[in-house]
Assembly symmetry: C2
Homo-oligomer: 329 residues x 2
C-alpha cells in the first residue's frame, strides 16, 4: 500500500497555511503559506487555498509517488464561532466573513471530503496527536497570537461542548473590572496576553513615562511596538519590557490555573509566537499556576510549549479530519 495523506488547511486572520499531512506521522510533506487578506472576501481566500492545496498535492505525489486517491480528504481549521454540524462559519470577528459554507465550498472545489473545526481546537488536537501532548488522556491547549484561543482534549477526542464553544480560554475573565477586550467585555485573558495587548501594555508604560529601549527600536513610532519588539528589548535588558513580560506570564498563569482547577488536565500545551520567550514566559507562568491551583492538580499537570511550531494548526486540522470520519490509520 502506498502512503496516504490528508490536506491540512489553517485559515488565520493573517496567514493561510496549507500542508500535506502523512497518516503515518512526521512533518507535512509540503507546505504553502500566503497572506489571508480577509477584506477580499471568503471566496477569494478559498480560491487561494484551493490553488495552494493542489500545488501541495502535486508536489507530495511527485516526491512520494501515488495517485490523487492517496489524498483522502481535507481538514480545515478556521476562527469561529462555527456551526460544526453544518460546516459553516457563523460570524468571524477576525475575518469579517459571515454565514459562509466553508466545508462544502472547499470540498466541492477540491473534489474530496472535508472537515471544519475551530482553529484553536485544531492546533490543540495537533499537539495532542503528534506534538507535546502525545499520550495524554486529558489536555488543554492555549493558542497565543492575535487573539487567544484554546481547546480541550478528553480521552483522545476534542471536547466540543453543547454548541461547539468549549475551550474558549481567551475570553475567560481573570479581572472582572479589568481591561476592555475586543469582544466588548472587561478583563478577559486575551485583553492582557494576546500579542497586540502585550504591545499595548508596553506602549502604555512608555506613555506613562517609563524609560525604555523600545522607543529607540521603533524610531519613536510607538504604534510599531509589537510583542516581538517587547521580547527583543527584554533580551537587551530593558526593565519595562521585562516587567511587561513578567506580568504577561503571571496573567497567563492565572488563566491557566483556572483551567487546571476546572478541567484538571494531565498537560497544558501553550503554542504561538509568544512562547519564543521560553523561560522568561514559562518559569513565572508555572510559578503562578502553582500558587493559584490546587496542589494535587498542579502535581498531575505538565505545562509545556508546543512542539509543532507553525504547523500545529495544519497537522491538527488533518488529524481532526481523520478522527471525525473514523478513517483507519
Amino acid at each position: 500500500m502506498s502512503d496516504r495523506w490528508v490536506v491540512g488547511v489553517d485559515i488565520g486572520g493573517t496567514n493561510l497555511v496549507v500542508g500535506a499531512v502523512p497518516f503515518e506521522g512526521g512533518q507535512p510533506a509540503a507546505m504553502r503559506t500566503a497572506y489571508t487578506r480577509p477584506d477580499r472576501g471568503a471566496d477569494a481566500a478559498v480560491d487561494d487555498v484551493v490553488v495552494m492545496a493542489n500545488e501541495v498535492i502535486d508536489e507530495t505525489l511527485e516526491r512520494h509517488g501515488g495517485t490523487r486517491d492517496s489524498v483522502v480528504g481535507v481538514g480545515i481549521g478556521c476562527p469561529g464561532p462555527l456551526d460544526l454540524d453544518r460546516g459553516i462559519l457563523l460570524t468571524t470577528p477576525n475575518l469579517g466573513w459571515a454565514n459562509y459554507p466553508m466545508r462544502q465550498r472547499v470540498s466541492d472545489l477540491l473534489g474530496m471530503p472535508a472537515s471544519l473545526d475551530n482553529d484553536a481546537n485544531c492546533a490543540t488536537y495537533g499537539e495532542w496527536w503528534r506534538g507535546a501532548g502525545r499520550g495524554a488522556t486529558s489536555m488543554a491547549g492555549v493558542t497565543l497570537g492575535t487573539g487567544i484561543g484554546g481547546g480541550l482534549i478528553l480521552n483522545g477526542a476534542l471536547l466540543r461542548g453543547a454548541s461547539g464553544c468549549a475551550g474558549e480560554l481567551g475570553h475567560t475573565t481573570i479581572d472582572f473590572t479589568g481591561r476592555r477586550c475586543v469582544c466588548g467585555n472587561y478583563g478577559c485573558l486575551e485583553a492582557y496576553a494576546s500579542g497586540p495587548n502585550i504591545a499595548a501594555r508596553a506602549r502604555e508604560g512608555i506613555e506613562a513615562g517609563d524609560a525604555s529601549l523600545m522607543v529607540e527600536l521603533v524610531d519613536g513610532d510607538l504604534d510599531r511596538i509589537t510583542a516581538i519588539i517587547v521580547y527583543d528589548a527584554l533580551l537587551q535588558g530593558d526593565v519595562l519590557a521585562g516587567a511587561v513580560m513578567l506580568e504577561t506570564a503571571k496573567i497567563l498563569g492565572a488563566g491557566i490555573a483556572n483551567v487546571v482547577n476546572t478541567f484538571n488536565p494531565e498537560v497544558v500545551v501553550v503554542v504561538g509566537g509568544v512562547t519564543r520567550a521560553g523561560d522568561y514566559l514559562f518559569t513565572p507562568l508555572r510559578s503562578e499556576v502553582r500558587r493559584r491551583a490546587f496542589d494535587v492538580a498542579v502535581e498531575a499537570c505538565r505545562i509545556v510549549p508546543g512542539e509543532l511550531g507553525d504547523a500545529a494548526g495544519v497537522i491538527g486540522a488533518a488529524g481532526v479530519f481523520i478522527a471525525d470520519r473514523g478513517v483507519a490509520t
Copy 2:
C-alpha cells in the same frame, strides 16, 4: 422484588446529613442531621454517621418492608482534596482531618460496600441524576455555602480529571489582584461569593460608613452579620444589602461565564443557601453571563437553581455509589 436503597452520607464542615435513597427515584425515605463538630476528630464524626445510618436503615425498612440486604451500600460525600482511588481524605482545610481512610472505615462499621467522592461532585451528580439537570448531556454544578465548590458532568458521568480535582470552581480567579481567599490566593470566586464573604463585604461597607438596616438587625454586633442577614435586609429595602447582593450576582456571573466558555454545558445548576435570594440573584447573574460568554454558548445553556435543596448531597452521594459500582437500577 422489594425496594432497594442506598445510604447517602453528606459530611460538611457544619452538618452531617444521612438519608436512605431509593433506587426507584423520589426523596430519601428517612433523613438524619447532626452537627459535624470537626474538632472532635474524624473517628467521632464517623461514629455519629454510623449511628445515624443505622437509624435511617431501621426506619426505612420498618416503613417500607424488606431486610438489611435491601440496602445495597453507602455513598459518602466529603470535602477534599481526596484520594478517590484509595477512598482517603488527604487534607481537609474545612474539617482539619488528614490522611483519613473514610471509605474503608464507614464500610467496615456498617458492614456494606462504600464509595467516596467530593461533596460538591456529589451535589452536582444529585442534581443531574434526580434534580434540575435531569437529561442533560453536559452540566456544571456550583455549590454556594461556607465555601464554593463545583462539579462537571459529561455524558452521564462526573468528570474527575487527572487527579480528582476537576470542577473546583470556587478557586478559579476572577480578579487576579483581588480579595485574599482562605486558600491563600487572591481573587478566587470564593473570596467574594461564599456565605462568609458575602457577610464580610456587607460588614466592610458598614465599617466604611454606609448606613444600613443590618446594624439594627444584629444589635450593632457586626460579627453577627451573615449572608442570611444580608438577604433579610435586602427584602426590607436596605440599599447596602441590595448592592452587596447585586455585586455577588455579577461576580458569580463572571465565574459561571468562565465555565460556560470553557466547558460549554447545556445547564448550570446553582445550589446552596444563597440561592434562596431567587431572582435577586439569578436575574443579574444571568445578565452577567450573557454579557461575558459567547452568544452561542449562552444560548445553549440554562442557568437554574437546584431542585433538591439540602438533600442534593445525600441523593448525589448515593447516585455516585450506584454509578461507580455499576449497580443495575
